[in-house]
């Protein structure tokens, strides 16, 4: 086996919180072996976790051409006006064959018709000049009729490392809404509401955007070098507020998945370094030379060196540290790919790194009273704030005092509600207020 390539997970995990979590500190190169359920230990009150709430559509369609040739159509994304789709073509066969070993698809040109199951058809509008395996097409229907047909005849896009055919529910996150993703935004798959609730109770804000995550590979070197293709995204106002609040107050912006990094950095790149509430398309490619403007940390899967996803990670940590982490993951049996284990790459808070001056109250003596007061505040934040406690400075002081990740201070300042008890009362509001 190639060095640094972790064994792929072959099926979705039944118990998401039991998944492994590799923590990498990009500054020190320190590695920790943890479980997903320990994620709250690594994040701090004031951080914001940004997820991609795109649901995953069944983007693989078995088709025949007018001359009876078989072709698999994998939808790669929908054009900005919604009517036209880009698709990748694969030859006869299905996911059970490695994409690299699939036969070449028939060569299609403009106005060719594809029969996609039932009476659903699509017309090729153009083949891409860079590769005839990429085409733009339009379906014979739209709106509710198109969605019904796509869901009836489509299957989730999947690859040969899996041991069986996926159902639609295997590729959904617990918060997915609009079906914009053609492959699941898989970094979010290990998150369940138990864990999201625990993070909220820790004071970590949750925010979302929608990003049309595209295909990761079709096994053709020319097309794969183009991936990811330009992808559309939408950032709501509430997320802009949550991100700006975190940055202003010294919290960290943690992206769940590379698609979130692309959306946030893509928006910032288009607007002089600040994100906007917008619906747009990004063709941003992120690598070691890219200087991150918005995102401080990344929760992601384990990616193979050489892949475009791995290249994106080099914006977060030095390549040597990433390779060392990958070697460690391989040696200690971490699982890779979409249903595999997770990795969190994040450094100290912006306050701790000196990017944000510590608020006045951070210098307060960390007396027992302060700690208890903060404990009450964090607990109280689930229902109401204590009116006599200055909330924001105290939250900031929590970071400077440390919460395991911020300053190695353990969990003392983050009273752990008993989220294992099954009492789900009092999950705070989605966006910390």
């Amino acid at each position: 086996m190639e060095e640094g390539v972790v064994t792929p997970a072959t099926w979705p995990r039944d118990e998401p919180l039991a998944g492994r979590l590799l923590f990498l500190d990009p500054q020190s190169g320190e590695i920790q072996d943890l479980r997903m359920r320990e994620l709250p230990r690594l994040l701090c009150s004031g951080d914001v976790l940004v997820v991609n709430d795109a649901a995953t559509l069944p983007a693989s369609l078995q088709a025949t051409t007018s001359t009876g040739e078989h072709v698999e159509v994998r939808l790669a994304g929908r054009g900005p006006n919604g009517g036209e789709w880009t698709a990748a073509l694969l030859g006869r066969g299905d996911w059970r064959t490695r994409t690299e070993e699939r036969s070449a698809p028939p060569r299609l040109t403009a106005s060719d018709l594809l029969h996609l199951g039932g009476d659903l058809t699509a017309t090729v509008r153009r083949a891409w000049s860079v590769s005839p395996r990429l085409v733009d097409l339009t379906f014979d229907r739209e709106g509710d009729a198109l969605w019904q047909a796509l869901y009836r005849h489509g299957r989730p896009v999947q690859y040969s490392h899996l041991k069986g055919p996926l159902a639609l529910w295997h590729v959904q996150t617990v918060y997915g809404a609009r079906p914009w993703a053609v492959e699941s935004p898989s970094a979010g798959l290990p998150l369940n509401w138990e864990l999201l609730g625990a993070l909220r109770r820790e004071g970590v804000a949750l925010a979302s955007l929608t990003h049309a995550a595209g295909l990761s590979s079709i096994g053709d070197s020319i097309v794969d070098a183009l991936l990811p293709l330009p992808e559309r995204f939408e950032i709501p106002e509430t997320t802009v507020d949550a991100v700006e609040r975190a940055r202003r107050e010294g919290g960290r912006v943690i992206a769940v998945g590379t698609s979130v990094v692309r959306a946030l950095e893509g928006s910032a790149g288009a607007h002089g370094g600040r994100i906007r509430a917008e619906a747009a398309v990004t063709d941003l490619r992120i690598n070691a030379q890219y200087s991150l403007r918005i995102v401080d940390g990344l929760l992601t899967g384990l990616h193979e060196p050489g892949s475009s996803h791995f290249s994106l990670l080099t914006a977060f940590a030095p390549e040597e540290a990433l390779l060392a982490a990958t070697r460690h993951a391989e040696a200690t049996g971490y699982l890779g790919h979409e249903f595999g284990d997770a990795m969190l790459i994040v450094g100290e808070t912006r306050t701790a790194r000196g990017i944000i001056p510590q608020p006045e109250l951070a210098a307060r003596r960390t007396s027992r009273e302060d700690v208890d007061g903060l404990g009450r505040l964090l607990e109280g934040s689930q229902r109401r704030r204590e009116p006599d406690v200055p909330a924001e400075p105290l939250r900031s002081s929590a970071r400077s005092m440390g919460c395991g990740q911020c300053r190695g201070g353990g969990n003392l300042r983050h009273p752990k509600p008993d989220w294992r008890s099954g009492r789900a009362r009092g999950i705070p509001r989605p966006i910390a207020v």
Binding site: D53, L57, D144, W147, A177, T238, P430
Partner: protein
């Protein structure tokens, strides 16, 4: 909650109360997706709404079929934007004439539970997560007094509605403070095909018209922010708090 512009998903919307509610909410400006098994009736309801300038889409699907759940949730979210109002109205009575429980086939009970209880559970699971993330949403369970009173021969249906009522209360409890709210509404006896199937000898002239009940339920939805999440409300006795 504000109805105008709200992404709304209604199951069992091709006839009876569901169709009336789809029309009423669309009339008040909701962007409506209607789910029902029968495509023809569904198309008729969607057509009626569009003819008067409302926004509606139809998805022919069976909420009792687990394969249908993510396609309903996904398609609806794309068609009208993230769903902020989910109305579980689809309901199965089971075999008619209504049998005694001792004569009820276990498979018939399972089939009723699949539509009236498990389906709503699955669909809420697929929709309410995104509501919680966005910090807002309303889920409505349409129930029946057969869920509260032990009427002979209404066994399978009554059991399913009693469980649905409790499902709403537990959802409400667990999602407290997320901004996602749950209400259970008993519409009362109405002049519908389901009522005729259950009680063919009933005097229809004394039964409520679905359109009138739908208008009342729309009023409850509009006032939902002021009603405790998890409440069970009888539409006939509901009065807007002044």
């Amino acid at each position: 909650m504000k109805i105008r512009g709200t992404g709304t998903l209604i199951t069992g919307g091709s006839r009876g109360l569901g169709a009336a509610l789809a029309k009423e909410l669309a009339r008040r400006g909701a962007r409506v997706v209607v789910v029902a098994r029968g495509a023809d009736e569904l198309d008729a309801v969607v057509g009626e709404i569009r003819d008067v300038g409302g926004q509606a889409h139809g998805l022919a699907a069976d909420v009792g079929d687990k394969q249908a759940i993510y396609s309903i949730a996904g398609a609806a979210a794309d068609l009208v934007g993230p769903i902020d109002l989910l109305v579980h109205n689809a309901s199965s009575l089971g075999p008619t004439p209504l049998p005694l429980l001792l004569d009820t086939a276990c498979e018939d009970l399972e089939a009723v539970l699949a539509v009236n209880l498990i389906g709503p559970f699955r669909l809420t699971k697929a929709v309410a997560g995104s509501m919680a993330l966005r910090g807002r949403g309303l889920v409505l369970h349409i129930t029946s007094d057969a869920g509260a009173v032990a009427y002979p021969r209404w066994g399978a249906y009554g059991i399913s509605k009693a469980a649905l009522d409790h499902l709403g209360r537990i959802w409400a409890e667990e999602l407290q403070d997320t901004g996602v709210r749950f209400l259970t509404i008993d519409p009362g006896e109405m002049d519908t095909a389901m009522h005729a199937a259950a009680m063919p000898d009933a005097d229809r002239s004394v039964l409520a018209r679905p359109a009138r009940v739908a208008a009342r339920i729309a009023g409850i939805i509009a006032s939902a922010d002021a009603i405790a999440s998890g409440s069970r409300i009888e539409a006939s006795s509901w009065r807007k708090a002044s």
